[in-house]
Symmetry: C2
Subunit: 399 residues, 2 copies
């Protein structure tokens, strides 16, 4: 059995191949750690071999002091500022990251790994399990945000970087930022957690559970072993995405986008067709998502988010998580985000204040809901640019 089995080892039908190819042989850079360098997971299992797929943008400077680690959200990936190999769309943060942009790749060396548990080349449930020569499926261990961060640390080691200038990310990316600051405080010069929380709320756990049940209810999920049967739980994953998508938008954003507008006709059809534009939009969101994302990855990543609770691991006192940090923080929330509302960012800020950390907090006025962190919000972009510039001066980076 090869240490890193290739797709040729798996027999699947054609429809599976594109997704499985990216999961096992990504178009991006990839760090393949040998079997002899396993990762000890929070569940106490050893996972090996580990692959971390990643992209980089810009140049690492001589003293390796200008590295920015970008942590992605639930359905994000390493293609932050370059074309996605499956969808052919521009990178998901290409408005924020690039030459002359707020995360200026003329100044900074940007590293964006696919998370552990993902499906774009980092080890996850769609990766080949060396024990069986088939995708892990549900044999993949349940991982945590801490496990994802520890895997990223291996990549940072590999790149020879002692301390990251900045760790930045939104939503689940923000959880990783907080975990970095808490678990690897000496390696973080500054941190930008955006639209996130220090623990996942019961309402958010509830929405995730609905999504997981939708996937698992789909007979094509095959108990997680759909790859072996050449199937995809399209309907279940699509419903999960539709439900989640509602939570990413504000009610106001949905109302502005769609209101009660009807599709082509000006009258309802008295049927279960997608009469309303919002129905058509959601169905589209569901079905396109299935084309680019692995259903089991969706289960594992949502689970990791549900488990995230920086305080519970530290005597139920969030401030304890930040006692070791010397980082400068820029905490960002959005007014209309009801998935990670501003009060959850305030809890982070209060905990940071309790340990006299260097923290600035900005609540951005936006009516785009949680999705705002992915959009070109001028005040948000100005905040990121300003913070990185000031922190860069402190770090002694040349302008």
């Amino acid at each position: 059995m090869p240490v890193h089995p290739t797709l040729a080892d798996v027999e699947t039908d054609g429809g599976q191949n594109l997704r499985l190819a990216e999961a096992n042989s990504p178009s991006s850079k990839v760090l393949r750690l040998p079997e002899s360098e396993p990762l000890r997971l929070a569940c106490d299992q050893l996972l090996a071999p580990i692959s971390i797929a990643y992209e980089t943008y810009g140049q690492l400077n001589a003293d390796k002091s200008n590295a920015i680690l970008i942590c992605h959200a639930l359905t994000g990936d390493q293609y932050v500022a370059s074309q996605h190999p499956v969808t052919k769309k521009p990178g998901w943060w290409s408005t924020l990251v690039g030459p002359g942009k707020p995360v200026d790749t003329d100044r900074f060396f940007v590293i964006s790994p696919n998370i552990l548990g993902g499906c774009m080349g980092s080890t996850g449930p769609a990766s080949i399990d060396p024990k069986t020569g088939k995708p892990y499926g549900l044999n993949f261990p349940v991982i945590t945000i801490g496990d994802m961060v520890n895997a990223q640390a291996r990549l940072i080691d590999h790149l020879g970087i002692d301390q990251l200038f900045t760790v930045i990310g939104g939503s689940m990316g923000g959880m990783q930022v907080l975990e970095w600051a808490a678990s690897h405080p000496e390696r973080v010069f500054s941190a930008v957690p955006i639209a996130t929380a220090a623990w996942h709320s019961s309402q958010n756990i509830a929405f995730h559970e609905v999504g997981r049940q939708a996937v698992m209810a789909d007979p094509e999920w095959c108990g997680g072993d759909y790859h072996s049967f050449g199937k995809v739980p399209r309907n279940g994953l699509s419903v999960a995405r539709m439900a989640a998508h509602i939570t990413y938008l504000s009610e106001d954003a949905l109302h502005r986008k769609f209101g009660r507008s009807l599709q082509e006709r000006s009258k309802v059809t008295f049927s279960f067709n997608a009469d309303f534009q919002v129905e058509s939009y959601l169905r589209h969101q569901g079905s396109t998502f299935v084309d680019r994302f692995d259903a089991n990855s969706y289960l594992y990543i949502t689970r990791a988010m549900d488990y995230f609770d920086l305080a519970a691991e530290r005597g139920d006192v969030l401030a304890n998580a930040f006692r070791g940090t010397k980082a400068r923080f820029c905490v960002v929330s959005f007014t209309s985000d009801w998935l990670y509302p501003t009060r959850e960012s305030r809890e982070i800020v209060h905990a940071l204040n309790a340990v006299a950390a260097n923290v600035s907090f900005v609540e951005i006025d936006s009516n785009n809901g949680h999705d705002a962190f992915l959009l070109e919000e001028p005040e948000f972009f100005a905040t990121i640019r300003g913070f990185l510039t000031a922190a860069g001066t402190r770090r002694g980076l040349k302008v």
Copy 2:
């Protein structure tokens, strides 16, 4: 073919029988209108024969001036204040309705019909289609809130009541209240729309669409013809209910009930088991719902709610809906209801004010979310009692 085929005409397995029995031969009173008295629906089809299953509580007075019509919500039924024949639970509003209670059955004659499209004895998709001798399934026409109200009007005719003292209901029940006031103004002395809206928002349409897609994605749904195959789309309907249930609670209520509390163990299991109490709770909500509700009814009723828009039918001016009314209104909303937030009740109040209607508006301080209208909220109960007492005096009812 008998005008009102009985269950004996259908061949199904045992599991179907209880639900189908209540759908076709309810435990409650039932008005069976003959084939010669069809209902013309908004879609322009004629529906016949029509059954309206209903319960009554209290006594109709001599001049028939003390009748209160209770309109139920999406998954409610006629068993307002009496035991549910399937679940054996107390009536869903038994805390509000009964002798000496705010809706005092010692004073008022309470009528509570199952809605058209429902599955507890009024004609709906689980009813036997006289053309085929099988449950309608998707051959049932798509109905509207207006159709439901027109069917109720037949029942009120049958009971010999010219004018209802009050029409009251929450959520979709409140939509029916508004429709009664708009379409049958002369028959409504007072109206109490609770936790509702004059049109369904795009976010609410979106959540309904997720639920419908979950049902339809279930292979056991069989294109709506599951009765014929002796199947039930359990998984799909359960996921739909889970998603909807989150919207019925406030985030605060979920947090208070569950927070991030774990099930039996004090540690997570690193699995997809229901580690968190909120997961276990939701799974229970989903699976028990399937035992008492028909999946196709769920599709049809959510569709009727999505279609509801009192303004669109009247030149996009909501006030036009209320030009004919002389009723006294008591509009009630709850502070933590994010499904039908207070601002949607305000829109109703503004429209009523625009036609100089007699309206009082009460926003009840509650952290129980949309579900508050089903709970014993003291301020809410006092409001209902006070309004009905004052309106009763105006109507000349003896105390």
